[in-house]
Structures are given as structure tokens and as C-alpha cells.
């Protein structure tokens, strides 16, 4: 069976080469058909792989190494992409999938452009497939199949982490098609309003799953690793965060290109760079140049090949850019105080912030080359990345109503005054209530400021702008979907910041050792250990503690586990979380000790206030992306608009 998959993957490889050739020579129809064929072949190859995992076919090397009959069925399937080779197969599948989607849904009057975009996507598929087939083949057989597989990393046996890679890859690899569209646009030196209108939905199609994929990974780390935190500025996290940041900059810059024809070269550059950052991320994670708690399947040779791919594709695209960018037309003139100016500020700060994340992530390597052993972690990013982004976001409510070309700067001062008042109020309130330091109070003020700003923007557009029709709530609800998308996303950033700042500032942590019947107090909750019992699951056994948490007349049971997976010889923690509504009471099972001949178990107990707003905020951001995905096409373009821009 797996041989059929292997053959199909080679077939997909052949189709992709042909797709690249016909596409670049401008044959839209042939390239489209080949893209669909390549995807169909790759789907068969991937299905064969999934089938091998479903049937626990241990004669396939990959299955023998990463699966086990003791595993629940759903995690056998998820095991397909829970390893290097399988995840590269998924990378190929998504690359060819986007090629096929482009072939099916790109319907413009620019045939050659479409053909070239599909062609470039074919070439990206060729690279990915070559890497899959010749450097990390998942289709290899074993001469002597074992009776039992050696299991999957038990940390990965988890619903959020089963869904995390597909989401992340839809995002990462989705940007390959944005890259292809940028390359095709650059070839004919046409990065204009038309181009932006075609590309924006594709950029959004990658950005939304990437957002959710990062959130899923973070949520998993929160409840599975038992460290009470949700973001660690770990190299692997940074590797997925950088494409997201550049992709976010692109979503803003492309608006200027779409509406005004401006920022053309910059938008094209971002479109190219986002995918480059995706490959860079894969390289950082897979090569082992950076050590990380999340990294799996580390191999220097494969890393070298990924770096080569990055240099070849990125270099070619940048050369194309350098050649064609001077020929791109710009938009009409704009003042610094204008919508363009605001979006330029957005892009400038996000670019600098991304460069900071890149620098911080790579710096230990740079320092080592200079003979110094250094670590760069959370404090560095909190002191550099965070203030930069905070300063940018503080402007958001002020500038989001600015008009194109030139805006009225007068209102700016009033807004700044408003923010100052809000900040002082928060400083006072937070100081009294929670003893927050100034930075945290500023963060809380910023969160409310963004939510308030989003509401004001909807109000302004819906209630005050069209006075002729009369103010009404209905007008608000009838606002274009893109306005709602923007509002939701910006409010989501506010919600996220509130949650993030409150959670990291006011979180309470204690490590306690409890004998049976012992108790401890964390954040006003009294935790009493009733006892510890041994339980057994399908492919693990565990110690499960029964903690009674009481506060006032509320009483809940927390049952954290310490699991052991014999197939992988690996322990994991299963945290117990009680959602109080305003925060999580969170317990993770530590180790067992002997104190005076009595067994004592240690627990890490956290109280994480407002944690739901961290993840809820990100979901709102993604939802905002969904809303503004595709523009509403109900009304015909007004002729006034063309006049305004020519």
C-alpha cells in the first residue's frame, strides 16, 4: 500500500515540474490542470500514509518509529503529522493544495499572470517534494517489521496538539501562494490595485489559520506542560510568530495597495518575505541550531537542505524584486498625517519588532561565534518588543479614522489627552487594587483603550457619519463586513493585551509539598490533598491526586495526574484546571518525596487571573480575519471611486 503512496508522490513531483514549466511559459489552462493533478496525486500519497498509521503497519519505518497499537485511534491518525517526515508530507500536501485552489479559483482577466503564479507554486512544490522524497521520505519499509511500534511522543497525544500542525501548516504554507502571486506580479511589474484585490483574500486565508495554529500551540503548552504559562519566547514559538508578524504587516500594507495603489514595492516585498520567514521557521525548528523544549526531529543535514531551499527561493524572489521594483508605479501623494501615514507607521514598527524577535532568537548563535555564551529570553522581549508594539497600538484608536491622502491632525492631541487620562485612572486604580507596577498599569490602560477605540470606530461609522439617513443602531449592524472584521481584530488585540498583562502581573504561583490530609493556601483557595491513587489508561498508567479546593462556600475537586507512557518510557503531567470565571486555578502534579518516612507529593499550584482573555482575544483576532476575508459584493463599484484615484 505504502508503495502506491510513494509512487503517487513521485507522480506529484513530475506533475509539479510540468506545472512549473507550463505555468511560467504562460499556459494557464495546462498549468491549472497539472496543478489539480499534482494535488490529486499528493492526496493519494498522503492518504496512503494516513492509512498506514491507521492500520499500524509497522513494516513502514515511520509508523514503527512513531506509532503504537496501544494508542487511541484518533492519535494514530494524528501521529501521521506528529513527526518530521509526516509533517513534511503535510507541507507538500498543503503546497500543492494551494496550487490546486489557485488553479480552481483564480478567475481574473490576466491569464498570463495566473499561469505564472500557478507555475511558481509548482516550483515551490518541486522543492518541497524533492526534500520529502530524497531527504526525508516517509515511505520507507523495514526489512524486519517489529511487532510493536515505539510510540509517539506522549506529549503529542492531545487534541489541541493533534490539530495544531495542520492549522500551522495551512498558515505557513498558505503564504507560499502569496509568494507565488507576488513573484508573478513582479514578473510583469504589475503590483497594482488589481493585484492587491486578487491577493488579499489569499493572504487572509493563510493568516487566519496561522493565528489559530499559534493559539492552539500556546493553549496546549498552557495546560499540558504544567508550567502555568502560555508563551515562553522559546525559539520554536518565535519561529512561528515571525511569519505571523510579517503576515500581519502585509495585511495592513496591502490595503494601501488595494485602495490607493501605493506601497506597491513594499507590499510585494512583504508578500515574498512572509513565506521566507515560514521556511526560516522550519529551518530553525528542524535543524537543531537552536535548542528548544518544543523541537522534535532535529537533524543538521536536513537543516542544511532547508537553508539551501530558503536561499534558492528567497534569493530568486529577492533578485526578481530588485530587478522589477523600480518599475512599479506608486500611489498618489500622501501626507504623514493620513491613512497611508498611519499604515506606514504600522508597518515600520511591526518590521522593527519582527527584526527584534529575529535578532533575539538568533543572538545566542551570534554571540557564540564571538566567543560568548549568552541566553536571550522573556525579559529581553518584554523590554524591547513589548514597548515598541505598545507604542504603536496606543496610536491605533486615534488614527483608524484618518482619511487617505491627508487627515486632520487637530484631533490627535485630544485623543492623546484622552489616553493620558485613561492611563492615570488605571494607574491609580491598579495601584490601589492590585499593586501593579507602572508598566503593567500602562498595559491595562492600553487594553481598555483599544477596546474603547474599536467601539468608537463602529459608532463613528455607523451613527455619526451618515447623518442623512439618521443615526441608528441598524446602520452599525449593516456596516461592511470588512469594517466589522477590522473592529473585531483590533478589539481582540485589546482583549488579549488586558488578559496578558493581568495574567503575567497578578498570577500567583506556589510549589507545595502535601502529605495525605495536608493543605495549603493559594490565592485564597485552600487546597487539601485527600489522597493519591494509581489509575490506568489505554496506553499509560498514572498517579492521580485528589485535591479539594475550597474558597468561601465554593468547593471543587482538582485531579491532576502524573502519567507514564511505557511505550515511550516518558512521564507527562496532566494538569487539573478549575475555571472560576475570572481566572484559572491550576494544579500540576510534581514528584513524590519521603519526609520522616511519610510520603509527600509536590504540586505546582497557580492562580492565573483573566487567562481566558488571552486565548479569547486571539480567537477574536482570528474571527476578525474571517470577517474581512472576502469583501461583500452586493453593490456595484461606485464610479466616484475610480475618479478619486486616477
Amino acid at each position: 500500500m505504502i508503495e502506491i503512496g510513494h509512487l503517487a508522490a513521485f507522480l506529484a513531483f513530475g506533475f509539479s515540474i510540468a506545472q512549473g514549466w507550463t505555468g511560467l511559459s504562460g499556459d494557464r489552462e495546462a498549468a491549472g490542470r497539472l496543478a489539480l493533478s499534482a494535488f490529486a496525486a499528493m492526496a493519494i500519497a498522503f492518504a496512503a500514509l494516513v492509512l498506514a498509521f491507521a492500520r499500524s503497519d509497522f513494516s513502514v519505518e515511520l509508523v514503527a518509529e512513531h506509532s503504537s497499537t496501544l494508542k487511541p485511534f484518533i492519535y494514530k491518525l494524528a501521529g501521521t503529522w506528529g513527526n518530521h517526515e509526516g509533517s513534511m508530507a503535510m507541507w507538500c500536501l498543503v503546497t500543492l493544495g494551494f496550487g490546486a485552489a489557485g488553479a480552481a479559483w483564480l478567475r481574473t482577466d490576466r491569464q498570463v499572470f495566473e499561469a505564472r503564479a500557478i507555475g511558481v507554486q509548482g516550483l515551490l512544490g518541486v522543492g518541497a517534494l524533492a526534500y520529502l522524497l530524497f531527504a526525508s521520505s516517509p515511505f520507507l519499509r523495514l526489512d524486519a517489521p517489529p511487532l510493536q511500534g515505539s510510540g509517539l511522543n506522549p506529549l503529542l497525544q492531545d487534541p489541541a496538539l493533534a490539530a495544531h500542525p495542520p492549522m500551522l501548516y495551512l498558515g505557513y504554507v498558505g503564504y507560499s501562494f502569496v509568494f507565488a502571486l507576488a513573484a508573478a506580479g513582479l514578473m510583469e511589474a504589475r503590483i497594482d490595485r488589481d493585484w492587491a484585490k486578487i491577493v488579499r483574500p489569499w493572504a487572509m486565508a493563510a493568516w487566519v489559520p496561522l493565528t489559530l495554529g499559534i493559539a492552539l500551540g500556546s493553549y496546549w503548552a498552557y495546560y499540558e506542560l504544567g508550567w502555568g504559562g502560555w508563551w515562553f519566547w522559546d525559539p520554536v514559538e518565535n519561529a512561528s510568530f515571525m511569519p505571523w508578524l510579517v503576515g500581519s504587516a502585509l495585511l495592513h500594507s496591502i490595503i494601501v495597495t488595494e485602495k490607493r495603489g501605493g506601497f506597491a514595492a513594499w507590499t510585494a516585498l512583504l508578500a515574498v518575505l512572509t513565506f521566507c520567514f515560514s521556511i526560516l521557521g522550519a529551518f530553525l525548528v528542524r535543524s537543531g541550531v537552536l535548542t528548544s523544549v518544543h523541537a522534535f526531529a532535529v537533524d543538521p543535514l536536513r537543516g542544511g537542505l532547508l537553508l539551501t531551499g530558503l536561499i534558492v527561493y528567497g534569493g530568486a524572489a529577492l533578485a526578481l524584486f530588485a530587478w522589477r521594483a523600480p518599475a512599479l508605479k506608486g500611489g498618489p501623494a500622501w501626507a504623514l498625517v493620513s491613512r497611508e501615514g498611519a499604515l506606514m507607521l504600522n508597518n515600520l514598527v511591526i518590521a522593527a519588532a519582527t527584526a527584534t524577535v529575529l535578532l533575539g532568537t538568533l543572538f545566542p548563535l551570534i554571540a557564540e561565534a564571538a566567543g560568548r555564551q549568552m541566553s536571550v529570553g522573556e525579559p529581553y522581549f518584554n523590554l524591547t518588543f513589548a514597548p515598541m508594539m505598545a507604542a504603536l497600538l496606543a496610536f491605533l484608536p486615534v488614527v483608524q479614522g484618518w482619511s487617505w491622502g491627508k487627515a486632520d491632525a487637530g484631533a490627535l492631541l485630544r485623543w492623546i489627552g484622552g489616553f493620558a487620562v485613561l492611563f492615570l485612572a488605571m494607574r491609580l486604580l491598579a495601584g490601589v487594587l492590585r499593586e501593579f507596577p507602572a508598566g503593567a498599569a500602562l498595559g491595562v490602560a492600553l487594553g481598555y483603550w483599544l477596546i474603547f477605540g474599536a467601539l468608537v470606530e463602529v459608532g463613528r461609522r455607523g451613527l455619526w457619519e451618515w447623518r442623512a439617513v439618521g443615526p441608528s443602531l441598524r446602520r452599525c449592524l449593516r456596516l461592511p463586513r470588512r469594517v466589522w472584521g477590522m473592529t473585531l481584530a483590533h478589539a481582540g488585540v485589546g482583549v488579549f493585551i488586558l488578559g496578558a498583562v493581568v495574567e503575567t502581573t497578578a498570577r500567583e504561583t506556589r510549589t507545595v509539598g502535601l502529605a495525605a490530609g495536608g493543605s495549603a493556601v493559594v490565592a485564597g483557595w485552600t487546597l487539601t490533598l485527600e489522597g493519591v491513587r494509581a489509575i490506568e489508561g489505554p496506553n499509560w498508567y498514572a498517579d492521580e491526586a485528589r485535591l479539594i479546593a475550597a474558597k468561601g462556600d465554593r468547593q471543587v475537586v482538582l485531579e491532576p495526574q502524573k502519567r507514564f507512557y511505557p511505550a515511550a518510557r516518558m512521564p507527562t503531567t496532566e494538569t487539573a484546571i478549575h475555571r472560576t470565571g475570572t481566572g484559572d486555578l491550576y494544579a500540576a502534579f510534581g514528584d513524590r518525596r519521603e519526609v520522616d518516612g511519610e510520603p509527600v507529593w509536590t504540586f505546582s499550584v497557580y492562580y492565573n487571573p483573566w487567562i481566558d482573555m488571552v486565548f479569547g482575544g486571539v480567537v477574536l483576532i482570528a474571527l476578525g480575519g474571517v470577517f474581512s476575508w472576502v469583501p461583500r459584493r452586493r453593490r456595484v463599484d461606485a464610479p466616484v471611486r475610480e475618479a478619486a484615484t486616477t
Partner: protein
């Protein structure tokens, strides 16, 4: 607080020193900044390794003795090398580059934008509503 001290004897303290809330917050922050020497890229606040236990207790002990944050960092850096500090020091060329680069990049980017924009005084206002939503 009174409830806590009443119940404390029931819990066998894994934490070596009981700190007041302000000291505890400082200790927690420092534990997130100091890298466990036995693990890959994890701060001692997260690590389950035995040595991380000792390192955490050392942080608590120093804070209980009235050490400043800088003194705690310096102690760990002297003992285990600079690599244990997730907040890298700003000394030396590497430190200077690392800490000044973010602002420098931001300013350089801003300068490039201003130069690139050049003479653009003929800008005319266009209301965003004409253009923001594609539906219009």
C-alpha cells in the same frame, strides 16, 4: 495573611524561605529570568530538575537575606556563567548590539521612510469611507 500562617504548618514547605508577597513577586520574576543549568532553554521557574529546586531555593534565600535583583543575577552569572541569564547583560560589544539594535532599527526605518517619501506636499484628503470597504 493570618489564614495563611495558621494553615502553613499543614503544608510541608518545598520552598525554603517564606517571603512576603512583594519579595515573593520579585523572586518569581527572577526565577523566570534564570536558566536551569540542567535543561535545554528552560527557566528555573519551569524546570522539574532537582538542581532547579536548589537554584530556586537559592533565589529565595538571597532575597530573604535582602539581596537586590542585580546581586542575585550577578551571583548566578559568576557561578554558572553568563548563559544562565535570560536577561542578557548589556556590557561588551554583543550586549551593546543586542540592546541598542531594536531602537536603532526603528529609527533607521523611520529615517528611510522620511527620505523615501521626499517631497509630497500636494496630498489631498480622501475620506476613508470611500475606499475602506470594498462594498462601497
Amino acid at each position: 495573611m493570618s489564614v495563611l500562617s495558621f494553615l502553613a504548618p499543614l503544608a510541608i514547605l518545598v520552598e525554603s524561605h517564606v517571603l512576603d508577597p512583594r519579595q515573593e513577586a520579585r523572586a518569581q520574576a527572577l526565577m523566570r529570568e534564570i536558566r536551569c543549568v540542567a535543561c535545554e532553554n528552560e527557566p528555573i521557574s519551569q524546570s522539574g530538575a532537582a538542581i532547579a529546586d536548589d537554584m530556586r531555593n537559592r533565589v529565595r534565600a538571597m532575597i530573604a537575606d535582602g539581596a537586590s535583583d542585580a546581586e542575585v543575577r550577578a551571583w548566578f552569572s559568576d557561578r554558572y556563567g553568563e548563559i544562565v541569564l535570560f536577561r542578557p547583560e548589556s556590557r561588551g560589544l554583543s550586549g551593546l548590539v543586542l540592546w541598542s539594535a531594536p531602537l536603532a532599527m526603528l529609527l533607521a526605518g523611520g529615517a528611510i521612510v522620511l527620505v523615501q517619501r521626499g517631497r509630497k506636499s500636494d496630498a489631498k484628503p480622501v475620506a476613508p469611507e470611500d475606499l475602506t470597504d470594498d462594498a462601497a
